[in-house]
Every structure is written in structure tokens, then in C-alpha cells.
Symmetry: C2
């Protein structure tokens, strides 16, 4: 992609257990794109081996709260006493540099981004069936029956928010899903409202 | 693609000389789609080797005019005393059968289709530059200088209608252009308003 073309903010969301992480990984493994992550900001302590600006931007609670007041996050949440958020300025910078920025986030966070960024592309990932989602949550093995039930109940509510997204992509196969997302990215760049400025000399000048 | 999913009407348009025909051909040569042509209807006499329903639907002028009165065309035009049109019912039938129907038509015809079909996908093909269009028209060799000038002047007017299309695809390379169109078709199928009905059981039912 050309450097002078602004990148897209791609918000990849969907219920827990649908496979957002594996699909995103498959997407990044594909050729022919210029995708980057958005590095989140957090107040939790840095763990051994982590790097500031790579794994997270590590900041103090004061700094985080100041940024909240300045409307400096696309979305943020508090989780067990620590804050996690997507810093708006960092994302904007990546987009301006022409990178496609992928945010892989939960449904509630995605809808917060939607309210702030009008030209982002919102993709809702769904399982092929409810059973597939349930099987996947169980097979993770890291969660007990109660947790699985809670997650499924949450998923049920989240499915009802699918209409708030631009696209629905079924994760029947992780590479198919990633391939569909790549097609969406390419199509979005070809949308008239995004691309017409590139053809200004064709449209406005005389031949 | 599944048979129970309605196909898309894809209107491929753009100025004369931009390469609509070669791009459409490259598109049909690609794998992984279910594209069909729309067979036009005409009042001109059948030529040796032509087949009714394959090359054109050959009808009388009375029949064609009756169909015009019945609003039976997506678009039609008179050309040197003969009529040419895209029959609405045939296209609808192909779409209902789940085929993607590609209409490769001139800009004026495309805009007539736009006024009649709300959910069709309108793609405007542009040359990489004005010079590329001019070179292509000249290199066809079948046209004299005056005809080239007339076509370029027409193209100049048509470029100003690009904003009426959903997508702009640059024909820098015929296979790249076809590939972008295939991405657009895939993305359009994943659009929430087109695909949400498929996930009804996920969204409405209990888990």
C-alpha cells in the first residue's frame, strides 16, 4: 500500500471463545498487507520479559486517569483494579503512516470505539454454530463448567449486537475467516468515499 | 457459494477504453466464484452463428417496446435504429438462483440501473492516468483521431460521475483489477445488512 494513503482502523470483535486471537494471528501471517497491532496502555506492573511500548505502554494510574479526562482513549476498562485502554494518539499516528491498525477487542469496547471513530471498519466474528462455540470454550480446558456457562450467557447477549457492526464473518475455518477479512480491507480501500481523492486529476482536469 | 444465498448484481462500468471487457474476462477466468453474464435483449437481426438466449435474446421491435412500457428493462438504449436492453426478469431469476450477475455497461446505462436497483454493487473502472486511456484508445487502431478525441471528451464527462458509484477500481493491471473486484464481491456478501439473516439462530435463540 502506498505511504500517502491513510490506513484503516479495523475493529475485530465478537464473543469470547469465537477465536478472535487465532483469526487475527492468521491474518497477520498472510502476505500482501501492511497490518499493525495497536499496543494497549495499562496501569498493571510490567512483568519480567515485557517491554514498554511493545507489550503495553506501562503508565501510572495518575497518568492513565489524566488521559481518560483528556478523552485520550478509544476505549478503556478497569479489570481487577488495573486499567487497560487503547490510546487514541498512537492509533492515529499509525493510521497516518499508512498502516492498517487491527484492534482485537471485546464487544463492549468495540461499541465504544464505534461511537468515537466514524470511519473505522467493524467486523463481528461469529462461530459456525452455538455448539461450536460451546465446544471451543469447553475444549480450552482452562475453564470450569460455571465459567463456560457464564461466557455462553454473555455470548448470547453479544450476538444480539451483531447488527451494530459493518460486517459479519463466520469463523468456520481460521484461514477462510482471515481471508474474508483481507477481502473486506481491500474492498474498503476501494470504496468511493475513501478513494475518490486519489483520482482527483482524472475527475477535475481536462483531458 | 450456497444456493440459498441470493447473488449480487455487479455493475461494472467506466469510460470507453478503460478496459471493462478485458477486466470482466479476467474476472470470469478466476476461480472461486459463481459469476454469470446477463444476456442482453436486442431487436437487431440475428447474425450467422449467433444463438437466441446465448448471444442475445432476439425479439421484435413490438415486443421490445411492449417490454419498455411494462418497465421490463434495467436499462436500454437505441443504437442506429436498433434497441439493446438488460431484461429485468432474467437478471432477477439469475440472482434468485444464487449467481452473481455481472453487467458490463456504459456509464449512462449504469446510472439508470442505479435508479432501479438499490442493492446492486456499482464499480467504476478508471485508467491509471489520462495518458493511459488515450494510449489505449489510439492503440486499438480501429479508431481514427477524431473518434479518439470524441471518446476522450466523453470520458472526461464520465469521470465526473465517479462519485455516484460504490467503488472505484483502477485498471493498472487487468488481473489486479479483477482481483480487487473479487474482493469487493466477497466483502459485499459479508456486509451485515446482507448476511445477518444467516445468523438468525445465533442471534435470536437461547444457547
Amino acid at each position: 500500500m502506498k505511504l500517502n494513503e491513510r490506513g484503516l482502523l479495523i475493529v475485530l470483535s465478537g464473543p469470547s471463545g469465537v477465536g478472535k486471537g487465532t483469526v487475527r494471528k492468521a491474518l497477520f501471517d498472510m502476505d500482501d498487507h501492511d497490518l499493525t497491532y495497536s499496543v494497549s496502555m495499562t496501569t498493571r506492573p510490567m512483568r519480567p520479559g515485557e517491554k514498554d511500548g511493545v507489550d503495553y505502554y506501562f503508565v501510572s494510574k495518575e497518568e492513565f486517569k489524566k488521559r481518560i479526562e483528556d478523552n485520550g482513549f478509544l476505549e478503556y476498562e478497569e479489570f481487577f483494579g488495573n486499567y487497560y485502554g487503547t490510546p487514541k494518539d498512537k492509533v492515529e499516528q499509525q493510521l497516518d503512516e499508512g498502516h492498517e491498525v487491527v484492534l482485537e477487542i471485546e464487544v463492549q469496547g468495540a461499541l465504544k470505539v464505534r461511537s468515537q471513530v466514524k470511519d473505522a471498519v467493524f467486523i463481528f466474528l461469529v462461530p459456525p454454530s452455538k455448539k461450536a462455540l460451546s465446544d471451543r470454550l469447553i475444549s480450552r480446558g482452562t475453564e470450569n463448567d460455571d465459567t463456560v456457562s457464564i461466557r455462553l450467557a454473555k455470548a448470547e447477549k453479544e450476538f444480539k449486537l451483531a447488527h451494530k457492526y459493518d460486517y459479519i464473518v463466520v469463523n468456520d475455518d481460521v484461514y477462510n475467516a482471515a481471508d474474508r477479512i483481507l477481502a473486506i480491507i481491500r474492498a474498503e480501500h476501494a470504496k468511493t468515499e475513501r478513494s475518490i481523492y486519489k483520482y482527483k486529476s482524472l475527475i477535475e482536469g481536462d483531458i
